[in-house]
């Protein structure tokens, strides 16, 4: 069973790895002789204009900016929501769930208009504005659940000590939210790293493309002209950071998603 699950999950990825290491002729038919293995695909991708690592850097920049902005907005919002009672709390919670489910592709046209009107197109940092909005609903819901888990006496005690709201958040509450903040940050980063529709319409300069767009552009031609070897090399290079992230942060991701499900 375990083997089957692994084969299903990793098989397609391993096949990409194999493809990326083969000479183009060897993809079409077994070579009669000679060594079919090569690193040429990787050289091609890394020496392109712009080089592949540029896309990785772009996606990392957008991901970090988005994560920071999302947490800056989501922490106060989650705290405020947690202290509220009554219909506002209920209404905002419901709106957040609805927004979390909303298919984001339906937003791209109006967002593109905004980008044009405010000169935000082709700006990686500006891209983190809509991305933060897309991630906010889930982030607020996760963090509100985390705030709800903290004992209320803790904050009361801090309040009696004369700590203001900012101090209470910074010195008492946030340090205890470490795990929840980490898993929220990782989920936000992943979502931003993988977003497609908005990046596709906001970014047109080739040196500013994020990874998903750059990779889709490689295959942008007809079905028959895709350089599958080079593309597979790009896939492998683009997957490595995520592989590392998922392996290192598996516990955080699972607990983040599962907590979200339990509380949401």
């Amino acid at each position: 069973m375990r083997l089957l699950a692994l084969l299903w999950s990793l098989g397609p990825l391993l096949w990409q790895l194999r493809t990326s290491l083969l000479r183009p002729e060897a993809l079409v038919a077994p070579l009669p002789e000679g060594n079919p293995w090569t690193l040429a695909n990787y050289q091609l991708v890394l020496s392109g204009d712009p080089p592949f690592w540029q896309y990785l850097a772009n996606s990392t920049l957008v991901g970090l900016a988005t994560t920071l902005l999302t947490l800056l907005l989501a922490v106060p919002c989650a705290y405020g929501l947690q202290t509220l009672r009554g219909p506002i709390r209920w209404g905002v919670g419901l709106a957040l769930v609805a927004a979390a489910m909303f298919p984001t592709v339906l937003l791209f046209l109006a967002l593109l208009e905004i980008a044009r009107n405010f000169g935000l197109a082709n700006n990686l940092l500006a891209l983190s504005l809509p991305y933060a909005a897309l991630s906010l609903p889930l982030a607020v819901l996760l963090l509100r659940a985390a705030f709800a888990d903290l004992p209320g006496e803790l904050e009361d005690a801090a309040r009696l000590e004369g700590l203001g709201l900012g101090q209470r958040l910074r010195f008492v509450l946030l340090p205890l939210l470490g795990p929840a903040l980490a898993s929220t940050a990782i989920l936000v980063f992943l979502a931003s790293w993988n977003e497609y529709a908005i990046a596709l319409t906001w970014i047109s300069r080739s040196d500013l493309l994020t990874l998903p767009i750059a990779i889709a552009r490689i295959g942008g031609g007809s079905v028959f002209t895709i350089p599958y070897g080079a593309f597979a090399a790009a896939t492998v290079l683009g997957s490595l950071p995520l592989l590392l992230l998922v392996l290192l942060a598996q516990r955080s991701i699972v607990s983040g998603l599962t907590r979200g499900a339990v509380k949401g």
Partner: protein
């Protein structure tokens, strides 16, 4: 009163950004859908008295795409649910190497959709992809996985299931972790088989999590865009085109923003209706399950 004001002030920045990104577009589409705004009008919106909506009702391509999108979403969610449940049960068992196993099975979900969409294009390639190579080595002849209008949609579903099944599995895993072990133990002592435990204990208690996964995934699947754009471009012969892709083409290729807005808004309305229907169905089914268990 005062703490309430503080709470609202703290929430304001986030809520403003959310309104700008989620509420404004819907209002804007509503307005644009009542205007002609295309190359013909020089991209200047001109009121056209609801002509876009009339066109939508007669637009065979829209309704075909609506059916195709619904077919994609229902099949995809159904398969993900079955596969996700199996995966969740596997990941819940205290096996050696459970941590790495969870991480590795989670990987497809963490990768960008476009990346593996192109990967699948290679795997399903006719005739050079590995799947066709395998078929030939078994004595068959190559199959046009992505060029046969009658069946291509199913392979799009498969690629989607591959990517999103881990997400469903994780949600269900969250549910499994809330079931007390001694309940299972008690049933086992009564001599219940594993299948009986699954049916009488596990599944009924999972209903809220299954509902959540179904609603969430249904919403996402009904808005499917990037997978289809990269994997098939909506082809062959438009047989895999989704509503979101049609809306995108109207805006970015035909430069008809008025009609594109109409399609987006109509897609959103269909989504609401489907989700509402799904919710009612799940609730009735869920209630039936719970009463059945109580009896």
């Amino acid at each position: 009163m005062k703490s309430r004001t503080v709470a609202l002030v703290l929430m304001l920045p986030a809520l403003l950004l959310l309104a700008a990104v989620f509420v404004y577009p819907l209002l804007r589409y509503g307005w644009l859908s009542l205007h002609a705004s295309s190359v013909l009008t020089g991209l200047v919106p001109v009121p056209n008295g609801g002509a876009n909506w009339g066109r939508l009702l007669d637009d065979a391509r829209f309704w075909t795409d609506a059916g195709q999108t619904l077919r994609f979403a229902l099949c995809s969610v159904a398969l993900e649910l079955v596969g996700g449940l199996a995966l969740a049960l596997l990941l819940h068992r205290p096996l050696r190497g459970r941590g790495p196993l969870r991480a590795l099975t989670l990987l497809p979900w963490a990768l960008p959709t476009t990346v593996m969409a192109l990967g699948w294009r290679w795997i399903l390639n006719d005739p050079h992809g590995p799947l066709n190579a395998a078929i030939r080595s078994l004595g068959g002849s190559s199959y046009g996985f992505l060029s046969t209008p009658a069946t291509t949609w199913f392979f799009v579903v498969l690629a989607d299931v591959w990517k999103t099944m881990p997400f469903v599995a994780l949600l269900l895993l969250a549910g499994l972790q809330t079931i007390p072990l001694d309940l299972e133990e008690a049933l086992r002592l009564e001599g219940a088989s594993r299948l009986q435990i699954l049916r009488r204990l596990t599944l009924p208690l999972l209903v809220p999590y299954i509902s959540l996964a179904v609603l969430f995934r249904l919403a996402q699947a009904l808005g499917v865009f990037d997978l289809i754009q990269v994997l098939t471009g909506g082809g062959p012969a438009g047989s895999t085109e989704s509503l979101a892709l049609y809306a995108y083409l109207n805006a970015m290729r035909f430069l008809d923003f008025g009609y594109a807005s109409t399609v987006m808004l109509a897609t959103f309305l269909l989504l609401l209706v489907s989700l509402g229907g799904g919710w009612l169905l799940l609730r009735r089914h869920g209630l039936a399950r719970t009463t059945e268990r109580a009896a």
